[in-house]
Amino acid sequence: MKLSSGQTTGTRLVALAALLVIVTAAAPAMAQSLVDDVQIHGFGGWAYAETDGNYYSLGTNEGAWDNADFALNITAEPLAKLTIVAQIRGEAINGEDNFELDYAFAGWAFNDNLELRIGRVKHPFGIYGEIFAVGTLRPFYTLAQGIYGPNGFTAQAYNGVGITGWHDWDSGWGLQYDVYVGQIEGDFEVPGLMTTVPENFLDPRMNVGFEVNNTIGARLMVNTPVNGLSFGLSGYTGEDHTNLDVLEEGVRRKVWLGSASYVNRNWLVRAEYGSIDRSPDFKGNGGYIEAAFKFNKHWQLAARYDAFNVEFPTTDFSTLPPFFLQFLDHEEATLGLNYWFGSNLVIRLSYSQVDGNRYAFVSTPEEIMELMVTGELESKTNMVLFGAQFSF
């Protein structure tokens, strides 16, 4: 459960700090008694991001220094077939602090090719669904907003039961599969104006929680004989509930995503395209393609194009101010330069050009009031980001 900022933030951060202290203090003892059975890993990052106007992703017009996150991952293997995994993560983004349990589950391996998982399990969705926040596994500081942005395509985890497994052949073909049932919970962001509920109008960025109950989902990844080339298909469906009154309750949500990935020593090329359907309220389509080239052991150049479009079939936009149409689209081109100290630490510099206001919006109630008077919303946003990401 994601805990929102507010009165409880301080308490959550204290809890996180306490937990980290306990884990750190306990590590030598665990290492002593369970040398082979417990591993502790973690990842995190920090970024400065500045835009030329709208508030977008990690960036603000004034420049945001307080974008940081850290996660701690613990894996224990008390029995040969039993694995217990948990990951906690804290983040501070533009003055809002969150502390959440990414996942905590038990896995029972029937054999090398089949494992039962039960608990709060990382969501197997697309290329990045399970490694959503791990900065050292991607070419940019943030993932493509078209799929992994605050649009509700995916969630951090599913709560329930699943099976996962793999099989590969000497020919080079391989399969990895996941099937799960349970509940998915997450959130998406919209400008308060977009909800068309007057009391939300002055909220620049509303966080809308959603739950998809009685979810059934699956992911299939296929490795090809071409070393590094793989394809995937993910999807889930279930009864969608949100805390936004204007959306119908219990409507079926259907989500699918196709993925392609090619990675070798120097090149990384990845693309995904998918759709989210919550008819009759909304339908969205998004996708991205990213490519990165490592010139040598340290320097990497990366480029990405991503887009997202959402439709509200039952909404008559002709009765709304024209700028409402800008809330429906997102298009972004990003260039990045990375310096890798090793696979565990990377420093990044990137420039993004955004068109559309699906995710880019003004940042204060005063600016919203001005927008309502003038009716003009800047649709283009430029952002520069500098940061570092690490893992161990």
Binding site: Q39, T75, E130, F295
Partner: protein, 144 residues
Amino acid sequence: MKHAIAVIVIASVLAMPSFVGAQDAEFKIVGNAGTTPDSISKSDLARIFLKKKTKWPDRRPATPVGQKRAPELRTEFSNEILGMSLDMVESHWQAQVFSGRGTPPRVLNGDAEVIDYVRRTSGAVGYVTGSADTSSVSVIKVIN
């Protein structure tokens, strides 16, 4: 002219060799005497070190062990046996760990520690430099 320069620059970049070149270092695969096979295919050895295969053919648990430092040796082993650069192997394990799918093999400091661990541990398998004294363990032949 500008286009010609741009084409030359792009072509030069694309023609750059991989940053991890072939290494001259040699290595040997060592196994616990009596509990590991005399020979193994390269693909099965890769599966054991990637923890996709956790048992030897006689159903005994396979326990792979890596080396903590020795970048040349690790690079050579990764290239030759796993078919990946060292960075790719490290990224593979990051993805496994943070998706809750597995943890990397334990790693030890240097040939002596690996050989000592393999000697004492049933089903253990590791890699050491070609010049290491392997008289207390068995050397496993890798079949392409």
